[in-house]
């Protein structure tokens, strides 16, 4: 599926919270709290997203079409009535990829200037 580059560019650069949420949804559908945990886990607890920031971002991302609320919910055993799950859309993936590319480009520029991050 291809999207108009200007539609994607209009959203870049992504707010960090948005990018993190997209990353968290990249491999599977998650509910809000799971997204927060995933982000905290991947950043070694450095990024503790607040509920307000999370749901404000989610609301905006739903409007922008980056994510959807899937109609099909996970298997009943894992499901919790109150929870709402979110899924990344193809457009969301494209935007996340574009953002990653943009960041890589920035990194390359930084390296060219001799500003090299230490490998961890």
């Amino acid at each position: 599926m291809s999207f108009k580059p200007e539609e994607i560019d209009a959203l870049l650069p992504l707010p960090p919270a948005t990018f993190h949420i997209l990353l968290a949804l990249a491999d599977e559908d998650r509910h809000g709290y799971a997204i927060m945990q995933d982000i905290a886990g991947r950043t070694d607890g450095e990024l503790q997203m607040s509920a307000g920031t999370l749901y404000r971002s989610i609301q905006r991302m739903l409007e922008q079409g980056l994510i959807v609320e899937p109609r099909r919910r996970p298997a009943p055993a894992e499901d919790d009535e109150r929870r709402r799950y979110y899924r990344i859309t193809p457009f969301g993936s494209a935007v996340a990829m574009a953002e990653a590319r943009r960041l890589a480009q920035m990194l390359k520029l930084a390296r060219a200037r001799g500003i090299v991050p230490e490998r961890t």
Binding site: S50, A51, T53, Q59, R82, R83
Partner: protein
């Protein structure tokens, strides 16, 4: 958890409904994970700030969306947007402008520290309700004996002629006691204020000047302090310059000098010459001060019964110097402006309602797409607020452009500038008016338009179902009728004042003020010489048909009051004149003769009196040859002339007495010496002025001359009134227009809703006339209710303005009739177009569409 739920109320309802539960869920988990009390506190704190921040962001997001949505909608319908902004601008602009003047004149504290404690003191006679300036000994006693005041000061107005700065020029100034500055807490911008040394007998003459004078005549240079200012009457050393915003006691005051020692120490309790101001102690109330001064006045009366019989003291806050008519008219204007605002508001409300109904489909779609009612209302209110704010900005511009016109409403008697500025207070008022407007015309229609019943069901319409809109229309009609009646009553009052005969013929007459200085003209013979040299030359000028001198111009100076036959109850105004005054001013001689050259200093004192003098003081006796005691002499009446409205068109005047200038005392009474040269000419004054100037300059080169026409003097009597009426009439016209538009809008909408019904009626054979009548009847019925209410409120408004109506009854039938007729015509005109649309309905196509 309850606390967290409460916190969530910071978010918009739609957001809360969508995510509130989940957020609570997440927060509960976070709370469990936070093990230590410190971690819990940190979590709570961070959550609090996070919520405030994010809620603001969410609100902002919605606002941005709504604004974008609104902007798109308005661009699609620019007519609606422009109409709304214009109406809002007029409503807000009118209110802002009127508020700025009302605030300045009636509300805002005067520009002196603790101005609420500054009062003016008068000698008063409770019997007659008269207030008078104060005699010097009484003032000294008040100061000595009273304890309610922090300070008390006296001043007296005067004029002096400045020389050495171009043409000689007359300046208005005051002699003040040093306590006047203390009382006002006024400090000079440069130099020093007066002290008690300056008030000693024989102290070197010093002067403080206004900022404007300093700028104009001293180039605003600081080293002007210590230099000399030359007046025709003497030389003064400049010791101080007051700040630019210091005005006391009037706007035109240009200098202050110490109260002359002789004036301050004057010993006559009959000679009322001083204005007195005082500052109350913090602990004293006005009532206490009044009681104390009354008590003192009683003691003074007991000690000097002859001069102080029935004399009391009145204590008036400096703020209350605005005279009652000015106050009434300003309040009327403000009420009218509020009326316009509410009419504009109701007008926009009904416009928005109608638009809301037209937008039902759109709202229904949005509702179906999941927008809650709260979001719809919010969107609609955002829209009306945006329009109101745009209108508010335009309104402030309207107000700014009208500020110069409003300067004339600042009464002379207030010690404040008449330069109107738009400040924060006024802007705050405009903001409030805008908010009221936006919410006023936004919320109600929004609630209605978004109500689920209306969205889902295509409501059966017809005017009966549109009660809210009908009520709004009635309100508009009512407001218009009230404004029309108010404006109409004031116009009728103006007419009736304009028809009042001033007692002289103002056309082609003008006056040249020749301020003969007391230092050189105190001697009567000097003045007689001056008149004898000036008058024949002026009379000889081509185009001049008459010229004479008089002490004071009528209406410009209302006073000059003296007692007749030594009786306090018999008062008359006194003017000294040269022969030929009556024919020059066009005052008819009813009996006897004019003052003549033969009434010289050696002849017996004579007088010419007005008709009311004969009626009131001579009880109808044949006046010619009668004698009366007046101004220190027994005077014989040689002539009777017509009545002159000395005190102005709207006020009763004392009877008038005219005395020959040649029979003035040899010295003294300089204040009464004739200094106004009155000229009747068949050519415009301006063309004569140069010749007159040359003639007078030849005789005395140091007189500053100023000219005013009698027509201007008479017009000034009604000038402020004219301006008030202009504004009120504009308001009335505006509201009438809005009401007309309102009727048009309402009926157009009603007709469009009833097209099927009308189609059926036509198909069933209803005549054009019946359809026409059906539509117009709706409008007329609403207008009738509005007119009825308007008449009631209009009468109430008239009653409250009675004091400025110059005798016109508040229930003036012609005014009421005209107002109602105008509104009816407007209503009928407004319903005409919709009615025409109704009779053009094609029955076939409408019925087909129905099917």
């Amino acid at each position: 958890m309850r606390l967290y739920r409460a916190l969530l109320y910071l978010y918009p309802a739609s957001f809360r409904a969508e995510y509130g539960e989940q957020m609570c869920d997440v927060f509960a988990k976070q709370l469990i994970h936070a093990s230590s009390p410190i971690a819990k506190i940190v979590l709570w704190l961070s959550t609090f700030f996070e919520t405030v921040f994010n809620a603001t962001q969410v609100h902002w997001d919605i606002l941005r969306q709504d604004l974008a949505y609104t902007a798109r909608g308005l661009v699609r319908e620019p007519g609606f947007a422009i109409a709304t902004i214009l109406v809002a601008a007029l409503g807000i602009g009118a209110n802002t402008a009127v508020f700025s003047i009302t605030d300045r004149v009636l509300i805002r504290p005067l520009p002196f520290p603790d101005s609420d404690r500054i009062v003016k003191l008068w000698e008063s006679t409770p019997e007659s309700g008269r207030q008078n300036v104060v005699s010097a000994p009484n003032y000294r006693d008040w100061r000595r004996m009273s304890s309610s005041f922090e300070s008390m000061g006296a001043y007296t107005g005067e004029r002096m002629t400045l020389r050495g700065h171009g043409d000689p020029r007359q300046l208005a100034g005051v002699g003040v006691s040093s306590e006047v500055f203390t009382t006002l807490s006024a400090k000079p911008l440069l130099g020093r204020a007066f002290n008690s040394d300056d008030e000693r007998a024989g102290a070197p003459p010093v002067m403080i000047v206004s900022h404007a004078l300093w700028q104009r005549d001293f180039g605003g240079k600081p080293d002007a302090i210590g230099t000399d200012i030359r007046f025709v009457d003497g030389v003064y050393t400049l010791v101080g310059v007051m700040p630019a915003d210091f005005y006391f006691p009037n706007r035109d005051t240009e200098y202050w000098k110490p109260l002359p020692h002789g004036t301050a120490m004057d010993s006559s309790r009959d000679n009322n010459i001083l204005y007195v101001i005082a500052k109350l102690k913090k602990s004293a109330s006005i009532r206490q001060a009044r009681n104390e001064l009354s008590f003192i006045a009683d003691q003074i009366e007991a000690a000097y019964p002859k001069e102080n019989e029935g004399t009391d003291v009145s204590v008036v806050p400096l703020r209350d110097l605005v005279d009652a008519p000015s106050r009434t008219l300003l309040i009327a204007l403000f009420a009218a402006a509020l009326c316009v605002l509410s009419i504009a508001c109701t007008n926009l409300a009904s416009l928005t309602l109608i638009r809301g109904i037209a937008r039902r489909k759109e709202l229904a779609v949005r509702s179906a797409l999941g927008a809650g009612r709260e979001r719809l209302v919010r969107q609609l209110v955002t829209e009306s607020l945006l329009l109101a704010i745009l209108g508010g900005i335009a309104g402030v511009m309207v107000a700014v452009s009208s500020l110069p016109l409003l300067a004339r409403f600042v009464p002379e008697s207030l010690p404040i500038s008449d330069a109107m500025t738009l400040d924060l207070r006024v802007l705050a008022f405009a903001a409030i008016a805008t908010g009221v407007m936006g919410l006023g015309f936004g919320v109600l229609p929004a609630l209605r338009s978004s109500s689920p019943a209306l969205i889902q069901v295509r409501a059966k319409s017809g005017i009966r179902r549109e009660r809210l809109r009908a009520a709004l229309l009635v309100a508009q009609v009512t407001g218009s009728v009230v404004l029309l009646i108010s404006a109409g009553l004031l116009i009728r009052a103006l007419w009736s004042i304009r028809t009042i005969d001033p007692g002289f013929r103002a056309e082609n007459v003008f006056a040249v003020n020749t301020p003969l200085p007391g230092s050189r003209y105190d001697d009567r013979s000097r003045r007689m010489d001056f008149y004898a040299r000036v008058l024949p030359q002026v009379r000889a000028l081509p185009g001049v048909t008459g010229a004479a001198f008089i002490s004071y111009l009528p209406m410009v100076t209302g006073g000059g009051i003296q007692i007749v036959n030594g009786m306090e109850t018999q008062r008359a105004s006194m003017r000294f004149v040269t022969p030929g005054l009556f024919s020059t001013m066009g005052i008819p001689i009813r009996m006897g003769r004019d003052i003549s050259e033969s009434d010289n200093p050696d002849a017996a004192p004579v007088a010419v009196v007005s008709q009311s003098f004969v009626r009131q003081y001579l009880s109808g006796l044949d006046p010619i040859g009668q004698e009366f005691d007046f101004a220190d002499a027994k005077r014989r009446i040689v002539g009777v002339v017509g009545e002159v409205r000395v005190r102005g068109l709207e006020r009763e005047s004392e009877p008038q007495v005219y005395l020959p200038h040649s029979q003035m005392p040899l010295r003294g009474r300089m204040g009464y010496s004739p200094r106004e040269l009155v000229v009747r000419a068949s050519i415009p004054p301006d063309t004569l002025m140069a010749s007159i100037r040359n003639i007078i300059r030849d005789v005395d080169p140091e007189l500053p001359l100023s000219l005013r026409t009698f027509e201007d003097i008479v017009a000034e009597q009604t000038g402020t009134r004219m301006a008030h009426i202009g504004i009120l009439a504009a308001f009335a016209a505006l509201s009438l227009l809005l009401a007309g538009l309102g009727v048009h809008g309402l009926l157009s909408f009603a007709v469009s809703q009833r097209i099927p019904e009308i189609g059926v009626r036509i198909a069933l054979g209803a005549s054009t006339r019946r359809i026409l009548a059906m539509v117009v009847r709706d409008g007329v019925r609403l207008a009738s209710i509005g007119c009825f209410l308007g008449l009631i409120f209009g009468y109430a408004a008239g009653r409250s303005m009675e004091s400025v109506l110059a005798g016109i009854q508040p229930a003036d039938i012609p005014t009421f009739f005209a107002a109602v007729l105008l509104v009816f015509l407007t209503t009928v005109t407004g319903s005409f177009l919709p009615a025409v649309r109704a009779i053009r309905v094609n029955p076939v196509s409408t019925i087909r569409n129905q099917g």
